[in-house]
């Protein structure tokens, strides 16, 4: 039987979907009876979800000079036949 501490270390492997069957069954059994671990798993899922929707840093714009240089390079490339 897994302890909460052991389970907490297995959360990423579980969410990755790469956990072997027996281990996964043990994990799910623990989650089924442990409210705290259920909450922890939920928090980790929400953390991942939040990361996935993180807005881009507004400062990261390409300078007009760089953009112009790159476009010039594109322009000077012949068309692929």
């Amino acid at each position: 039987m897994l302890t909460c501490q052991q389970l907490a270390e297995l959360v990423t492997e579980y969410l990755d979907g790469s956990m072997p069957l027996v281990k996964r069954a043990q994990f799910q059994m623990h989650i089924g009876i442990c409210k705290n671990c259920r909450a922890y798993l939920q928090q980790m899922k929400m953390t991942v979800r939040t990361l996935g929707h993180l807005p881009a840093d507004p400062v990261a714009e390409m300078s007009p000079e760089t953009k112009a240089e790159l476009l010039q390079r594109l322009r000077s490339m012949g068309t692929k036949k």
Binding site: T3, C4, Q5, Q6, A8, E9, V11, T12, E13, D16, S18, K35, N36, C37, R38, A39, Y40, Q42, Q43, M44, M46, T47, V48, R49, T50, L51, G52, H53, L54, P55, A56, D57, A60, E61, M62, T66, K67, L70, L71, R73, L74, R75, M77, T79, K80
Partner: protein, 233 residues
């Protein structure tokens, strides 16, 4: 107004593409990758601008995980764009355009990071990823392995709330910045950019197992950071 989801447009729905490209008058038309590649090969400048707008910020963030200064990160990304242009005609579309661009960046950033003697040299990228040390603070557990105090679930709308508050978004960015370069690279590529595990392993030159440990450490830390901002039910 018809808005087509980005995921839909980037997918391999080759047959559906002509239908999806039918423009509704006020729709937001996000070109698919295949469309962009075709237009780029035809030297369509607006396609290149679209590509830059789409990925430049993400590339900068990722480059920042490997190199010491933002100036160097900008150089690395600029080199990447040049390489993208140079490699355009031989890009075989075996991977997605995005993966290809990110792979170019990753290689350049790692090389540059080594040269700039940033904290994590390439050869030791796998170090610090040992699974011997627990990622979750042992102080959170009692001697018998149970949680020392109750863990309560977050409200269902937590991600939305966190993302709509400037302070928590900034805090999350800062937290990601503070991660060791290898963890930061993995969590950025996997969770922020949404790339698949296999792709990320390929891009960073790490094993599946190491990648998972790095991701686990990063996520464990970031969860504790977000916990500060979360309303309790």
């Amino acid at each position: 107004m018809l808005a087509i989801s980005q995921e839909c447009m980037d997918g391999q729905f080759g047959l559906a593409v002509p239908l999806l490209r039918f423009r509704m008058v006020e729709s937001v038309h996000a070109p698919s990758e295949s469309e962009l590649v075709a237009r780029l090969r035809a030297r369509d400048e607006s396609a290149f601008v679209e590509l830059i707008n789409r990925y430049h910020g993400q590339l900068l963030r990722l480059a920042g995980a490997f190199v010491a200064s933002s100036n160097v990160a900008e150089e690395v990304v600029q080199d990447t764009w040049v390489a993208v242009l140079d490699g355009l005609d031989t890009f075989e579309e075996r991977s997605s355009l995005k993966t290809w661009i990110f792979r170019i960046l990753s290689n350049r950033a790692k090389t540059r990071g080594v040269r700039e003697k940033r904290s994590v040299p390439f050869s030791s990228f796998n170090e610090g990823a040992s699974s011997d040390e627990p990622a979750v603070d042992p102080a959170q557990f009692a001697a018998d392995g149970h949680w020392a105090s109750a863990i309560r679930p977050w409200n269902e709308d937590t991600p939305d709330k966190l993302l709509s508050t400037h302070e928590s978004v900034a805090r999350l960015h800062l937290a990601i910045e503070s991660l060791p370069a290898n963890q930061r690279a993995v969590v950025t590529l996997r969770d922020v950019e949404g790339l698949e595990s296999e792709e990320v392993c390929e891009m960073l030159g790490v094993t599946e197992a190491n990648q998972r440990v790095l991701l686990h450490r990063a996520r464990t830390y970031l969860r504790t950071v977000l916990d500060e901002y979360v309303d309790r039910r």
